[in-house]
Structures are given as C-alpha cells and as structure tokens.
Subunit: 179 residues, 2 copies
C-alpha cells in the first residue's frame, strides 16, 4: 500500500483489463447501441472510446512524466472534446484496437518507471485543482476507466427504458443522471 492508499499492482490490474472488457461488451454491437446517448450533450459508447484514446495519448503517462520530471508549470489542460474530431471516419472496431494498443504500451511504460513509495507522493500542479500527487493521478486513471465503463452500460440501458414497461420501477440505472 502506497502513501496515497493505492498499490501499483492493484491499479494495473484494473487498467490492463479495461480494453478487453470494453471490446467484449461492444465489438460487433448494432449501431443503435453504440451510437446511443443519454440526450443532447452526452456521449455515446463510440464517443467514450475516442475519449479514452485521447487520455492515453495526452493525459495519464504525460502527466506522470511531468511529475517525475519535477516540472513546476501546470499540466497541459486535457481536451474533453478531442474525440469529436479525432474519431471521425473511424469504426468502433478501429477505435477499440487503438485503445487496446495504447493502453498496453502505457502500462509497459508505467511498470518501467519502477515507481517507489516515495514517487507516489511526488506532486504536480493541475491547471484547475492545484497540487496533486502521482498516487492520486494513478488512482484517478483507474476510477476514470470504471466511470466510463459504467457510463457506457448506463447509456445503452436507457435505450430500452420505455421497452421495460412496469419493470422500469426496479431498474434503478434508468434513473441515474436523469436530465
């Protein structure tokens, strides 16, 4: 257990399973599931995979390196809408393959950093949140994955809200993030 309450092995155990989990849930699904959203301004499963790809490229490992390099300037802000241009013209299958490759490479980089307990307590400057630690960044990477897995399941579930009829009373996910 590291000072911030996480262990690298526990974190990697989640991080390394996300691409296969999302691929198994989404690969080959009809478009009506993959392109569904929860309403205006919300993301489809397709959008979420593009967002995860952008995170692999610009967020987690670059910020870990930023902290380990003892940079004093803040992290680059993360672009939360990059996927709307970057995913254009790509199939979900291509996006899942890209996410899988990037995540595998990033886990190799992470493990190769040979982080010590002391490293987990090293700090960087978030452009909005202020001082954060490397341990907090790693925990956030994990929770961010799980948040988007839940979002994808919730978004697809809502496609069938009306179709469940009276059973909707028992299906609490249909009322999460109601707009």
């Amino acid at each position: 257990m590291k000072p911030d309450g996480i262990s690298l092995d526990d974190a990697v155990a989640i991080l390394e399973r996300t691409p296969a989990g999302l691929s198994a849930l989404l690969e080959g699904l009809p478009e009506m599931w993959v392109k569904a959203t929860e309403g205006d301004g919300t993301w489809s499963p397709y959008d979420v995979i593009g967002h995860l790809i952008h995170g692999e490229r610009t967020d987690w490992i670059p910020r870990a390196r930023h902290i380990l390099a003892s940079e004093t300037r803040p992290f680059e802000p993360f672009d939360r809408s990059a996927q709307f241009t970057e995913s254009q013209g790509k199939s979900l299958s291509e996006l899942l393959a890209t996410f899988t490759d990037l995540r595998r490479d990033n886990i190799a980089v992470l493990v190769g950093m040979n982080l010590t307990d002391a490293d987990f307590g090293r700090t960087g400057l978030h452009p909005e949140l202020g001082e954060v630690t490397l341990g907090q960044l790693m925990a956030t990477w994990v929770v961010h994955d799980l948040d988007h897995v839940a979002q994808i399941a919730r978004t697809m579930a809502k496609v069938y809200t009306e179709a469940t009829g009276p059973w909707s009373a028992y299906l609490s996910i249909l009322r999460d993030r109601q707009r």
Copy 2:
C-alpha cells in the same frame, strides 16, 4: 422492431456479450476489487455474479416459458438474496464460468423459441407489477445486465474515492448512489 420497441437480435446482441465482458473485467482481479461493496447491504462484484446466475436459472427463461404457456397464475417471485447461500465456497472464476454456460444455453433456448412479433405482445402476471409482456421481459433482461455491469464498475471505482484526492470532484461516478 417488435410492438414493445425491441428487436430480438438487438436484445441478444447485448445478452450474448455480458459474460465475456464481465469475465474480461473481473477474472483474476485481486480480492480487494472483487469483494468490495458500496457499504452495508450493498453487493460486491462477486455477489452480483451469483445474482446473475440465479436469474439465468429461475427468472428470464422460466418466465418466458410461463408467458408462452399462457399461465394465468403469477410468476414465481424472484429471490434477490439467493446468491448469499448459493455462491458459498465458490471462486469468482467458477461463478463466471457457470454464468457463461447458463447464458449460452439460455440464448439458445430463446432463439429456439422462434418468437413472432405477436409473441412479444403476449402477457403474464408479475407478482408485484401486474400484467407485463414478453417484450418487456426481454427488454428487462437486457437492462438488468447493463445495470449490473454499471454497478460492478461503480462499486470498484468507490474503492479509490479517497485515493483520487482533489480529482474526485471530476469523477461523478463516486457520487452516484451515495449513502
């Protein structure tokens, strides 16, 4: 599209992916993830898999048969705590394998029913909800899967709530179903 707004192919597309998706996300994870809950009276990922198994055995297909047999008595009530005895002594890996086998068999049974549009409108009597249709039962099976996928992701995410530090402000899943 059936009268109740679902198509069998779209429903099966989700149902047939759930076991592989959950296995990819959970198989081999450290116990601290698999046995985590959201607090007293809530379920761990391990508990959820046992619950899904009980549904395969006693809920979806038995109720579909009940409707197709034009039974006038209500469905058998579903036991929501069966997994606390039935899963005892079993590893998560065993439970995932059992769920995978039962789901595969149940999808074969479902497809073998050769349901027509008219069948989707046939009705049965739910012990609490009253009249429900076969189409609503099928849609509920799908949403129930997705609800529990989201629950598993949310439950594991909350293990790291404190560890994310100031980032928790951005991770909205950590505030879903707060108790």
